[in-house]
Symmetry: C2
Subunit: 195 residues, 2 copies
């Protein structure tokens, strides 16, 4: 499909800002004509510039094989409006023969890398190249990756900052508590130096 | 000082739940009679049982030397009531000769490990043993650690779950946006399987 209407590129040195507040992400990849997507609450920034991320991807996921085959992964940040998708892709496995895109009726689009599926309906996207570290993956299911392109929905992220307080409720990111229950960020607080 | 009045132990298999929603943490450590604390937005769970965490600690921090010397670190989860402390400890360095505990007037207490300072006024605490991986630390400033004990303020975390919606506003965790501006989790949403 074509790109979402509110998609805007994010400057790479500001890409870490997309994940600084700890959102749950969707991890997607494609390899040899297969594509897949899964949910991951364990993801975080790892460096500023060039931006890097760290994400835990279990050995038993179908997506992991696609990541290891292609050396690429994408992180899409779901929002309240597509929380059901987030639960769904985290609850079934493509290893059981399920095409999650078809089954749950959601679309993907391409950013910079035509082979990397970005998930429609999300509010930010990071395209990444995996930094090979086989022992780290084998021992801890941990993948480190450099962000090669980043995008955000400009209604809710612009000028290097999230603007949740100014956007509609449904565009806020998801932060997984447990069992498909999510919090969203609210109530911006500006801390001050004591004394 | 003595332990906070609302402190309750968290079963280790549920310790990942403390950080699953992506809060900013305070990282503390002590070594050879020196102690320190710093703020870190880049921390996440790494495994369930035994629970492990991953946290980025920059080479230029004083805390890093204490972690590498002792092989131990603690994560304390600040809340809205002590957001100013969170900004303060992230804004000055003990390398400049500052004793942050004295300067900002906050206390620490001990959990299981008497040498590990846990930060008073926070809402959850994880005591950790570093899993030695010198190349990972040198290359990416990334530390992996096993959680050996976990604690939470039972007013806001109990039975393996955060209960932000039922607690006072000031006990909600902090999620760093930028420049000392923090969001807090709100508006619990229960996702449902589509179709």
């Amino acid at each position: 499909m074509s790109r979402p209407p509110h998609l805007a590129p994010v400057d790479l040195p500001q890409a870490y800002r997309l994940m600084n507040h700890g959102p749950t992400v969707l991890v997607s990849a494609s390899y040899e004509g297969r594509r897949n997507v899964m949910a991951a609450a364990w993801a975080m920034p790892l460096d500023f510039d060039p931006p890097k991320v760290a994400v835990v991807v279990d050995k038993n996921t179908f997506t992991r094989g696609l990541i290891e085959g292609s050396g690429r992964l994408a992180l899409s940040l779901p929002c309240r409006d597509n929380a059901d998708i987030c639960l769904a892709v985290g609850s079934v496995s493509a290893k059981d023969g399920v095409d999650k895109f078809a089954r749950f009726g959601f679309a993907s689009f391409s950013g910079q890398d035509p082979a990397l599926p970005l998930i429609d309906g999300c509010v930010a996207w990071l395209e990444c190249r995996v930094l090979p570290d086989a022992p780290l993956a084998a021992r801890h299911d941990l993948f480190l990756a450099e962000v090669t392109a980043a995008w955000a929905d400009c209604r809710v992220f612009r000028q290097g900052r999230w603007h949740f307080d100014e956007a509609t409720d449904g565009l806020r990111t998801l932060h997984h508590l447990a069992g498909g229950a999510f919090f969203s960020p609210a109530d911006l607080l500006q801390a001050r130096m004591p004394g």
